[in-house]
Symmetry: C2
Subunit: 195 residues, 2 copies
DNA sequence: GGGATTATGTCAGCCATGTTGACTTAATCT
DNA sequence: AGATTAAGTCAACATGGCTGACATAATCCC
């Protein structure tokens, strides 16, 4: 990176004092606008670096961040339908189709017709897919784990509340639903193509 | 969105019990791997929605998220050099050049040669640029403010520590430096070519 | 003074990943 | 049987990353 440390943007901080009235979220002991801007920037930097390690690994496989997202959710929430994934990623069917097709063609994900509704294609990570997903997740989990530790005990509840509140209210039920469901096996409970 | 609520990924949660040993960040009272995955997902969803409102506004102006990032940092940290911006955004000169040029040509940002080193181009948001930047920031600040409130008092310190720890260690000094510098005015402090 | 380095800008082209619109197929619902 | 739904696909386009090469001006250093 460049020398941002030294001089940079010469000039003092304008010492903004606004606090109660006129603040973004209305009444209550709200945070100053300057601090809110700082949190916005920290969130940007945190997310920028959160995605960096997996991005590096992905390029070795000829994949991009889009593949990571798909593989992650399929791996962690096996049996997801295509429509579920569209809702989670908030992209179009065509965008998803492109990366999903590559993941399937290259043996990272398999599909299986739904038992109750055979139009549905339930998605599962293959063993190969699980391996890649775990490899991509590893540095992110380390980063998260360290950051949680750095923030001290009791972060968990607080952070979870914060992050959940950052999600659009109308999407929160879906998100909770996704996060509480996990990983049944592909193939029927007695039949199909192993892990 | 689609019906993620209902059935979805039929099957129970595999009740993973790993805790101390072998966990991502080494020793200490670390968080279970499942919880870490949940935080990773929450971060994804939070960031997804954090960028949504400004994205909508931007499309009315024919701009994209890249323009927002540039305008934001220039507005909040007036006098930034091009090289600083490259380090912050972590993109190439050519990528930045493309969006920066549009913002300059359309009167949202102005440049000014550095006083001490006239090769440098210090960047400043024009009044028009400030207005757009504020308009884009507004929904994000509201969202943040509400989320902070939802997480309860005392979040600020904790969250700040968490987010800072999420940033690559080697970039933290730069980030702190950026965040502590703010907004001198363009035009002379005694020397150069006014706005 | 003059050559090397630095900060910035720019041209040309490539790739990943988002978008819209239209259409097909198969399965399910009414 | 007809309408609807889940999924897949084709074509075309926009944004915003990337590399490589090169130009200009200012500064640094011998």
């Amino acid at each position: 990176m460049t020398d941002l440390n030294a001089p940079l943007a010469r000039g003092g901080k304008p010492a903004e004092a606004k606090h109660g009235a006129g603040s973004p979220a209305g009444k209550g002991a709200s945070v100053s606008e300057t601090k809110l801007h700082e949190f916005a920037e920290l969130l940007f930097f945190a997310y920028r670096d959160f995605t960096r390690d997996p991005d590096t690994i992905l390029s070795d496989f000829g994949f991009g961040r889009a593949h990571h997202r798909v593989l992650h959710f399929v791996n962690r929430h096996a049996g997801l339908r295509v429509a579920d994934l569209l809702g989670i990623l908030n992209i179009t069917k065509q965008s998803l189709g492109r990366v999903l097709k590559q993941l399937i063609d290259q043996g990272y994900i398999i599909q299986q017709a739904g038992a109750s509704d055979r139009r549905e294609r339930l998605l599962f990570a293959t063993e190969r897919g699980q391996e890649l997903a775990e490899r991509l997740a590893a540095p992110q989990l380390v980063r998260l784990s360290r950051a949680l530790k750095a923030a001290g005990p009791g972060v968990e509840t607080t952070l979870r509340q914060f992050l959940e509140a950052m999600i659009n209210a109308e999407d929160r039920p879906q998100v909770s639903s996704i996060m509480s469901a996990s990983s049944p096996q592909p193939g029927r409970g007695g039949t199909g193509e192993g892990s």
